[in-house]
């Protein structure tokens, strides 16, 4: 095909990638590349909202068996890896043993996989195998375990220790992809640079942290857009269906990706037609691009489209619930006694979330109403509570009622037993936004008479301090790994302390409800349990709920069939390009 007719998509990433070994990476940019090179057994429909699982490398989405403890996948025959010298000129078919090998890789200590937790305490026999590897210094991939049964060439069945109705979501994560063992062993130390998958694209060129080029995988079987779940009343769905009707995908021949860390060059490169898509318009340019919420006339005249997206994420501030911090210091905000609960609730009421939304986040966020954000299964759009709405008079009344008054006349409230009260808010030294949020906390607490100090620490130290409980109050955020409320509610599950439960929240009632929710499939019963858990969060206030951010994704009109997926980071394999219009704009 002549170069002039090739469909080339040019995009920028907001941060540099790290590599493309799917079991070794966790940054969303590297994972986004892997989405195009590898294939999961099941994935998400492009257009369905709320998201819906569909088969990808598997023939069908399996039904849970044995009360949610067994999942059996049948791989489609005739799926081939992209060519690689390791295959010595032969076509290499995807088989069930590749899935078994990939899952075991997550637990290989040498790999130090950031997603090891996905397959911890669930697949029968895998924990024991991983323990043995730690002791012996080598992971034995050849040992069979009862939790992974490979039945013939194409069938793999997983047996879990406990029911897990989110296991299929685990299997849809772009890291959980089969890999060919001989490829991994051949490239050994440099697997990050040699991705070989069955997906629609192959890595053609890689200048680390500067340029990533993907080109069509000639061995890829192709597919057609699934329109079953399209909502034709939605303009994005309608345009996608019209643009892709009857076409064999993928349509883009080459994808050029440029990591650009700074916001201005990324923005200007888009305006200059150097890039076709601008994912996540930087907040600082929101007033230039969308003054008063409407697309600027000069961009509208060029046919630029804006896809607004509420990401399945929340920001929140974490109270350390332990009575003492990890370094032995008294923690004035920790504990479950009525006055400590009252203090936290008063602090939550004192915080002006509207200032956070309209000043710090330039209006590009909505207030979180529960720990579960929109766009995930278990989110309840009707759930509202005033427990987290800004209300300084209520905060003051609550503090007065529980004895947090100024006893020494210095203008600041003291604890009920007469000691000086100072709350420390820890934040990341390197972030402008984090500094603004810290300043807002100090200001809001001062307004109700609580003395607070913002303490800036290095990013690595902040992660560590939050993990081990060496803090009083700190900011945090969570984006969905998979679209179920459980992924968010596990952040407050007691046994997850020192892992993801940064608040160190240990409430037996909450833990009981959480454990019960794991054994119940999606439905009204599980939603009721989620609501109960959310009420406990409001009552004990281990978090101040922040916001769910709104991102705006810009595209030029020559990009066809665009729709941002809430869980998948990229959508390249569904896009089309009007080459003539693209080239005319570049002249």
């Amino acid at each position: 095909m002549a170069d002039a007719q090739r469909k080339v998509l040019r995009v920028a990433f907001r941060a540099a990638e790290t590599g493309f070994d799917p079991q070794r990476i966790f940054d969303r940019y590297s994972v986004g590349i892997c989405e195009n090179i590898y294939e999961t057994l099941v994935s998400y429909d492009y257009l369905a909202r709320p998201v819906k699982l569909v088969p990808l490398a598997a023939e069908a989405v399996p039904e849970p068996e044995e009360g949610g403890t067994r999942y059996t996948f049948r791989i489609k025959p005739g799926i081939y890896y992209s060519d690689d010298p390791v295959f010595h000129g032969h076509r290499r078919e995807l088989v069930a043993a590749d899935v078994e090998y990939a899952i075991k890789r997550f637990r290989d200590p040498k790999l130090r996989s950031p997603y090891e937790w996905l397959f911890e305490h669930n697949i029968l026999g895998l924990d024991e195998l991983a323990e043995r590897a730690k002791k012996e210094g080598k992971f034995d991939y050849d040992t069979k375990i009862p939790g992974i049964e490979v039945r013939g060439k194409y069938v793999v069945s997983f047996k879990l220790k406990e029911p897990n109705f989110n296991f299929l979501y685990f299997m849809a994560m772009p890291n959980v992809v089969p890999v060919a063992r001989e490829v991994i062993e051949a490239y050994d130390a440099d697997t990050m640079a040699h991705p070989v998958g069955t997906g629609p694209y192959v890595l053609k060129e890689w200048v680390r942290r500067s340029k990533i080029v993907l080109e069509r995988n000639p061995n890829y079987r192709g597919f057609e857009l699934e329109t079953r779940y399209a909502d034709m009343a939605d303009e994005w769905d309608r345009r996608a269906v019209e643009a892709l009707a009857g076409k064999r995908l993928p349509l883009i021949d080459r994808i050029e990706i440029y990591p650009i860390e700074d916001e201005q060059p990324r923005f200007l490169a888009f305006l200059n037609h150097e890039h076709d898509i601008l994912d996540e318009l930087p907040f600082q340019f929101i007033n230039q691009v969308m003054p008063n919420g409407k697309l600027a006339p000069q961009l509208a005249a060029q046919g630029v489209r804006v896809f607004p997206e509420l990401q399945p994420e929340i920001t929140y501030d974490v109270f350390n619930m332990d009575a003492k911090t990890n370094d032995g210091a008294e923690n004035p905000v920790g504990g479950y006694t009525p006055e400590r609960v009252a203090l936290r609730r008063a602090m939550v009421l004192a915080h002006d979330r509207n200032q956070e939304i309209y000043i710090v986040r330039k209006g590009q966020a909505i207030a979180a109403q529960s720990p579960v954000p929109p766009g995930v299964v278990g989110y309840d759009p009707d759930f509202r509570s005033n427990a987290q709405d800004p209300d300084p008079p209520r905060a003051k009344a609550l503090l007065d009622m529980f004895g947090y008054v100024d006893r020494d006349g210095d203008g600041w409230r003291d604890t009920p037993d007469g000691r000086a009260l100072t709350v420390h808010y820890k934040y990341n030294l390197g972030g402008q936004e984090q500094r603004e949020l810290a300043e807002l906390w100090v200001k809001c607490l001062a307004e109700v008479g609580i003395r607070a100090e913002a303490v800036a620490v290095q990013f690595a130290d902040l992660i560590n301090d939050k993990r081990v409980g060496k803090f009083q109050l700190a900011g945090s955020a969570w984006i969905a790994d998979y679209p179920d409320a459980q992924n968010f509610l596990q952040l407050l599950y007691g046994p997850n302390t020192e892992q993801s439960n940064e608040a160190r929240f240990k409430l037996p009632e909450y833990d009981r409800l959480y454990e019960k929710s794991l054994t119940v499939p999606d439905g009204e019963e599980r939603n009721r349990l989620y609501r109960e858990m959310t009420r406990l969060v409001f009552a004990y206030a281990p978090w101040r709920l922040g916001v769910t951010r709104r991102f705006n994704h810009l595209q030029y009109p020559w990009v066809k069939a665009y729709k941002k997926h809430p869980i998948l980071y990229t959508n390249y394999k569904w896009l089309d390009i009007d080459v003539a219009a693209q080239q005319a704009a570049m002249k």
Binding site: P114, W117, R208, N272, G430
Partner: protein, 312 residues
């Protein structure tokens, strides 16, 4: 001279050991635990301990220090903790783009600064001299970041004279297409302070007795400036260049980030953010060695510029 050079090289060893010790202490005191950064979103203490074991940061400090010393003397810093790329490959591939921008920048800035400094020193005290000094002071008062933002927007986007950002695999395309705007920016920002500094060097020499004597003997002013003043002023200028020269090997982080140049400056800052100690160690040690070698070369050059200098 040979004995002098050998002596100086010998003296570098304790300096390198001092640098190693300093980097090691700084990393372990303020660097943060790399295992926390690499662990991902959810990890338990066992996994953190496993990562620390894999990285070797669970070993006693003396052993880690010994490994570091061995790495320095074998030039093998292993692989990046975050990307698994060979550290030697990182340095070799990133130093090229950095030098493509920084070398022309240093050459142009220094040449222009010396030329303009001679010129303003020649017309010292006049309106031209004062005007140029005011412009320099104003130019120095504006942040580098502001220059980058304005230049990129004006020359890259509004006027379209240069690309907004980017880098290619071709050296010539980089040098002639992508690098000119960052080079122009760096020259613009670097010129003012250097011009002021070099002007003061020239003025110091102009007021010396030997200059007055030359003029009294009727030597033409241009010859006084270019032959006598220039040659003597070159010694402090060389010293200043020796200070600036190692910096071109690590580049400008801001320029590299704003113009998407895959250079070493950007790499170092990313490595610091990711607590990627092998990369930080290698770049710091390599920069220290370059600085020492450049200082040695400049000391040798002094002899060529000024015959009064002797190697004792």
């Amino acid at each position: 001279m040979t004995a002098y050079v050998i002596r100086r090289i010998w003296q570098m060893i304790p300096t390198i050991l001092g640098v190693i010790l300093l980097i090691f202490i700084l990393f372990n005191w303020v660097g943060g635990d790399p295992a926390q950064v690499l662990a991902g979103k959810i990890s338990n203490p066992d996994q953190i301990a496993n990562i620390r074991k894999q990285l070797g940061v669970d070993q006693p400090y003396w052993y880690q220090l010994w490994v570091f010393v061995k790495q320095v003397f074998t030039f093998d810093f292993g692989r990046s903790w975050s990307t698994n790329e060979l550290v030697s490959h990182i340095i070799l591939t990133r130093v090229g783009p950095t030098l493509t921008v920084m070398l022309p920048c240093l050459a142009i800035t220094s040449t222009l600064a010396v030329l303009f400094a001679v010129m303003v020193a020649y017309v010292r005290g006049t309106v031209t001299d004062r005007g140029i000094m005011i412009v320099c002071t104003v130019a120095m008062s504006v942040s580098f970041l502001v220059y980058i933002i304005v230049f990129q927007w004006l020359f890259g986007f509004v006027l379209g004279w240069f690309p907004v950002q980017g880098w290619s695999e071709s050296f010539w395309k980089n040098l002639t297409y992508y690098a000119p705007l960052p080079i122009m920016l760096a020259v613009f920002v670097g010129l003012a302070p250097e011009l002021r500094l070099y002007r003061s060097f020239f003025l110091d020499e102009i007021n010396q007795d030997y200059v007055r004597t030359a003029r009294a003997k009727g030597v033409p002013e241009k010859k006084v400036m270019l032959k006598h003043v220039m040659r003597n002023a070159l010694i402090p200028i060389l010293t200043n260049l020796a200070i600036l020269l190692p910096g071109i090997f690590v580049g400008s982080f801001l320029l590299e980030v704003f113009f998407s140049i895959p250079g070493l400056g950007r790499e170092v800052v990313t490595a610091v953010n990711r607590s990627d100690f092998p990369v930080i160690k290698a770049v710091t040690v390599y920069l220290a060695i370059i600085t020492m070698i450049i200082n040695l070369l400049v000391d040798v050059l002094y002899k060529l510029v000024d015959p009064r200098v002797s190697f004792k």
